[in-house]
Symmetry: C2
Subunit: 280 residues, 2 copies
């Protein structure tokens, strides 16, 4: 790689950022823009065909930096729990087929009627104990993503990097890591110390970027901002992550209908420009 694109050697585009693109459009768009990595989601990959998607991305010369997502480990009902574990084994298989070593986990919220966060977190640990060896056998590391506390009841009872590390550290570092996503963690004054802890323990499996903007939309799922539009100091995060020795991909994952309504190539050019000026 030469010239301007050389700056982008660590950049990865999570496909949900430009979800208006099909997988072939994603591959072509990233190649054209000089973006060497993509983060994929299970649903569009399954729709395209896992093997076909793997071939497409590989033939384009792109790396799959992560697969979203496994998780939802907090069900109490044994049938639901068994189904979740089976689905996670399928996700691990898909990650292996796609050639990524990172399966992102959204661990799950409180089951209906439950108010016991501690028990829910323990059920996550139980699920990790069952799945981590299977993942390792397939060359895949499980990456616990702490989600913003506003998702604690319905999506993920793991709300801080400290909690994610408390869980991950019960397992070998090559089997269970953590995700640092700026959108979820930017507000936390302990995050620098926890990033250092993650790095020191070899737990830093994925580094993802999105900006924090307000007002939040109803349901608070699709309100992430383009880099630079909000409150996050990206360079601060990148410097703290890099200071641990991490030199892996930096994945941009934004869920925002305003970006989905635009021309994909234009959005990716904007992402790359913001990345150069605000992250590097």
């Amino acid at each position: 790689m030469t010239g301007v694109s050389g700056d982008l050697t660590r950049l990865s585009l999570n496909q949900e950022t430009i979800k208006q693109w099909s997988l072939p459009e994603l591959a072509e768009g990233c190649v054209k823009a000089g973006v060497p990595g993509v983060g994929l989601w299970r649903a569009p990959v399954q729709e395209y065909g896992v093997e076909a998607a793997a071939r497409l991305i590989r033939d384009a010369g792109l790396a799959v930096t992560s697969l979203c997502r496994g998780g939802f480990f907090t069900a109490i009902d044994p049938t639901e729990r068994a189904a979740a574990l089976a689905d996670n084994r399928a996700a691990i298989d898909e990650a292996a087929t796609l050639g990524t070593d990172t399966l992102i986990l959204v661990s799950g919220g409180l089951p209906p009627g439950s108010r016991d966060l501690t028990a829910a977190r323990e059920r996550i640990a139980d699920a990790l104990a069952e799945l981590a060896p299977y993942a390792a056998d397939h060359g895949v590391r499980l990456a616990i993503e702490p989600l913003h506390p506003m998702y604690a009841s319905d999506r993920c009872v793991v709300s801080t990097l400290a909690q994610a590390l408390d869980l991950a550290e019960r397992f070998p570092a090559d089997q269970v890591g953590v995700v640092v996503d700026t959108y979820h963690l930017w507000w936390d004054d302990t995050v620098a110390a926890q990033i250092a802890r993650a790095g020191a323990g070899g737990r830093l499996a994925s580094f993802q970027l999105a900006d924090w903007i307000t007002p939040l939309p109803e349901g608070v799922l699709l309100g992430r901002g383009q880099l630079g539009d909000g409150a996050v100091d990206f360079r601060w995060f990148r410097e703290h992550v890099d200071a641990t020795g991490f030199d892996g991909p930096i994945e941009v994952e934004i869920f925002n209908p305003a970006l989905w309504a635009r021309d994909g190539a234009e959005v990716l050019a904007e992402v790359a420009e913001r990345y150069r000026t605000l992250v590097l």
Copy 2:
């Protein structure tokens, strides 16, 4: 007090919970329901007249357990900053007139264009240094309320009880305390330890209840749940707060348009019933 109402000796109704009530309706409604305390807000009190409101509540035999709110200390612009300090002195005067010793602070978010949480938190400390002696001279304690991290950019950069205590502990305990509000803190696995820290230091100035329900509405301000409708374990919180020796008021503060659309007395009866069965 006798019989069933005796259970309610610590209950306080924050007026925003039943904002369809005028101040006289609030006073009458609380007396009828055997609820001995009210939490007030500056705007409706100013509209009614501060002296008149103080007389009304006092004559009804009710205690004012808190006044909402001071704060918004994070402006960088000197003129804005001076205006905020002047407004906070006025809030302290109003609290003193109303006979409450607790002024709740919503400390402020990031100023436009700023991404520096640390500096914003330092400006809060600077403002507290100016205001705390003035408040103490008026028999009022400033109560730092950590707000849920989803408000960190636009309302309050103090997101955890630990952060609130880090700020409060720079000042005498009788001048600056903290608020434990279940809505903001329920997700945090360090909250039990921080409640104990607050109690040990004599910092627990206010204990407020609301439930966490989803989906969150646009803007995420008016989505608090009636006690029991959501994810919060209220008895757990009350037991941890009481274990510190705290025996002050327990204030219910819910912002929810569905409650505002109902008959006020019916809502208050429901609050009291949920309080008896879920909190005590």
